[in-house]
Amino acid sequence: MQWWCTASSEPWSWAWTPYPGIWLSVAVVAGLYVRTWRRHRPGRPLTAAERRMPWWFASGVGLLWLVTDWPIGALGAGYLASMHMLQFMVYTLIAAPLVMIGIPSWFLDGARAKRWWPSFATLSKPVVAGITFNVVLLSTHSPFVVDLARANQLGSFAMDVVWLAAGMILWLPLLNPAHELRHPSLAVQALYLFLASGVFPMLPGAFLVFADFPMYATFELSPPVGGLDPAVDQQIAGLIMKVGNIPILWPVLGVLFFRWAMKDEESTPPRPAPEVPIPVTE
């Protein structure tokens, strides 16, 4: 029995396949969350936003589970480049921010004194976070890394963990549980998100769409699923990378822009009332 989804030379089957390593990982993450919540919960009454946080976190972890486990995880690990890309987009653009929204700032109360905190602060800067995310994006979509990692369970597990970490790093300047490390300017946040997850990923996406041949041996030489040609599958993957972020990114950018505009309006001092000449009666 396999514990994590990986590439396989077996023809694809719609028969359900269990991956206990994935269940265990989800259970460990959920258990750690509950434990930390209980240990660090402040004595004061929780705010409404804090009470909603476990639901956000559960949504993120649930989504991670959905795209990591059979069938999407198995298809993405060894059969279809398009599913591989769908997994990446869900990991980094939906699940990671949901998980981060679900982490209260008091989870990190004890972490601020740790030696790694300054590194974490540096990683939260937009330039560093954006570069880190895109380096991970490029490397984990390079044919060498994909073919190497997806060939075995440990490599496949590592790639999924790196994706989740990269997704969380991407959102640090906006959704950092340590609020003081979020970038203070909403305009910079919007510009950062647009560049880091909207513009730069279009380049590797274009490579996939316009490549003459399938780039990944894993998907090219795997038993076909639904008669889908590997070249077409790769083009779909490229399109997902190029435009798949639009349904997530643009609404978020819209909200950021709207908030920024509202804030700007609030901070503008009110115009002085026009002076009305006082009528002089003699």
């Binding site: 030379s9 023809p11 030696r115 790694w116 905190w117 300054p118 590194s119 602060a121 540096t122 990683l123 380096v135 490397s139 390079s142 060498f144 890394v145 190497l148 003459d212 041949f213 399938p214 041996a217 090219e220 030489l221 795997s222 038993p223 076909p224 008669g227 040609d229 590997p230 070249a231």
Partner: protein, 234 residues
């Protein structure tokens, strides 16, 4: 008169052990180390990849046969029901010969898709692809034609009686296909050679391709094959 500016708010004095501006720089070494390790792993990977690509013997992605086979001599039946004398029909032509079956879940569809894609990438290379079904029970002529048309209408489909197929595989130096035990639904797989034999216009097979040669590698070999004059002149 010298004026001493007051220290900025929040800044510690020089040499202060608890200088908050100094501590982050020192602790960033962990982050830098992570980046260095990450790029080192990538670099090793890239070098390994280059090494693999340049170590191929003879420069072919396929297997070069130092003692080439003669163009096989056998007769089977086309998907139109006509007899097909392989040697006579393909004589002097660049020919790709492959044994498989239409219900094959992996090797055959991947190999046929690879051949079609590689031939598309080598325009001007006139080649005949011959697919011999080793599952005559299920691959009726119409089914076989429909299957091959999914890849390329020019692909030639052949089949025959078990005895004819055995003779064809033997003449091609290919191990005989074996029907495996059917499952509870009656479906069965056929164990067959995954080798594609490339017979050049000198009527000899100089190259064969095992499963796993990729489309871009096939295309490279086909472009190179186009320029191998001694194999073109009979």
């Amino acid at each position: 008169m010298a004026v001493v500016a007051p220290p900025a708010e929040g800044a510690g004095g020089a040499g202060s052990g608890s200088d908050p501006d100094r501590r982050p720089r020192r602790s960033n070494s962990a982050l830098i180390t992570l980046f260095v390790v990450f790029f080192a792993v990538l670099g090793v990977g890239a070098v390994a990849r280059i090494g693999v690509g340049s170590a191929l013997e003879d420069g072919w992605y396929g297997t070069y046969l130092p003692e080439p086979l003669d163009r096989p001599d056998f007769t089977l039946t086309t998907t139109e029901g006509e007899p097909f004398d392989f040697r006579a029909e393909t004589e002097g032509k660049l020919t790709f010969l492959f044994f498989g079956y239409a219900n094959c879940p992996d090797i055959c569809p991947i190999t046929l898709a690879t051949l079609r894609s590689a031939l598309d990438a080598a325009p001007g290379l006139a080649a005949t692809v011959v697919f011999v079904s080793v599952d005559p029970e299920r691959d009726r002529p119409d089914d076989l034609r429909a299957y091959l048309d999914r890849f390329d209408r020019s692909f030639v489909g052949l089949t025959g009686t078990p005895a004819e197929l055995d003779a064809a595989q033997s003449a091609s130096g290919t191990s005989a296909a074996q029907l495996e035990e059917p499952d509870e639904t009656g479906a069965y797989d056929v164990g067959h050679s995954s080798r594609v034999l490339v017979i050049t216009p000198d009527d000899r097979a100089h190259l064969s391709y095992a499963f796993g040669v990729r489309q871009d590698e096939w295309a490279d070999d086909l472009r190179r094959l186009r320029g191998v004059d001694e194999w073109w002149s009979r």
